[in-house]
């Protein structure tokens, strides 16, 4: 039995035809199910818990990177298979999972190629896409064995789980796809350009890890799956094989 969680933005008229086509395709495959529309204040965790109690085995998230991040960060510990139907822009995670955007995603869902995926864990909650700490005076201890700091003091930290890391440098945009089995930490020290008198980023340092502790003397912001909090000490871990996810053949891991 399938339950479909629709993001709130899908009620816009421009998505009407895609949604209609998706629903038709799902009916053809015989995997249509209950549709729940996520509102701004709806708790995905409670909704999913309730549906699993009723016997639902597959939860399908319909939306974009924000939707999948919002839902999975709260429900990664549930015993259900998760599917994803990406619709509209901002769908980088779908590319990593090998799921095409739009109606074709139904074909991947129907094939039910399930994999157990790792997710990131930080201060008692999960994150599936990225964890971002904007330039702050932080120091990092990796796997309880080595400490990383910057000569300039301030560093930006991005920890990637499913969402690729993108940065611009020398008029080129670089994309790094994270690998499964580890979290990747991308550290970019900030320095002041002598000519432009402007803060610029150094090329990123990359460290694959399973556990890291980020600390600072002053509070620093932490952004995960569109949620921001201020922290002084953050422990980031890899929760292995946490989510059962339906993925495509063209996945990047």
């Amino acid at each position: 039995m399938y339950v479909y969680l629709y993001d709130n933005f899908l009620k816009h008229r421009r998505y009407e035809s895609v949604i209609k086509a998706i629903e038709t395709r799902l009916t053809e495959y015989g995997i249509a199910g209950k549709i729940i529309r996520l509102q701004h204040y709806s708790s995905a965790e409670m909704l999913i818990e309730d549906e699993i109690r009723k016997g639902v085995k597959t939860i399908v998230i319909v939306g974009n990177d924000t939707t999948i991040g919002h839902v999975l960060s709260r429900s990664a510990s549930f015993d259900a298979a998760f599917g994803f139907l990406p619709v509209g822009p901002q769908n980088e995670i779908a590319q990593v999972l090998g799921i095409p955007v739009g109606v074709e995603a139904c074909d991947v869902l129907a094939k039910r190629r399930k994999l157990r995926l790792d997710v990131g864990w930080f201060n008692n909650r999960y994150f599936v896409s990225q964890l971002h700490i904007p330039p702050s005076n932080i120091s990092i201890i990796y796997d309880e064995s080595f400490k990383v700091s910057s000569k300039s003091g301030n560093m930006e930290l991005v920890v990637c789980n499913l969402k690729p890391f993108v940065w611009s440098g020398k008029n080129t945009e670089y994309i790094v796809h994270p690998q499964d089995g580890k979290l990747e930490a991308f550290l970019r020290p900030v320095y002041e350009s002598k000519i432009l008198r402007r803060h610029q980023f150094e090329i990123p340092s990359i460290f694959p890890f399973e556990e890291m502790v980020v600390s600072s003397k002053t509070p620093f912001p932490v952004e995960t799956d569109c949620k921001v909090s201020k922290e002084i000490k953050v422990t980031i871990k890899l929760a292995k094989n946490r989510i059962s996810m339906i993925v495509g053949k063209e996945r990047k891991f």
Partner: protein, 157 residues
Amino acid sequence: MSMFASTDEFNPAQSHSSVPDEVETIVGPSVVVEGDFASDGNILVKGTVSGNVKTGRLLTVESGAKILANVKAGEAVISGEVKGNMRIDNRLELTQTARVAGDIFCDTLVIAAGALLQGKVTMQGLDIENSKNGKKLGTKRFKSVLGGEETVEETGS
């Protein structure tokens, strides 16, 4: 499993001619690493590492980079500074800007003209008989490239 995917995407290995495989760990130019540093994949050091470095694959230390402790790696290309002993399973290359102060143990050693090395070099494959007590010392085969010229010495045991 490839970390850096597809042709139009970033591969730091391409920016360094002596790095044949993909780089999985990069220590940036102004980054300081303190403590024992181990990785399963290739390591590219552009900054400073004050602690033991261990990898089963390729270690690249770029010009201007520093490692201030012992090193253990599958292969290594050193263009920066290493103050500590190095134990390399296969090939160790010291380029012309390399500065090494420490003992080296490796299988194949390549030293470019201009590289500075202070320490004992031990290589596998060459057996030297000690005339006093008849004990075998050292290794059997010595192979190195000095300033572009390769010399190979072999001594029977």
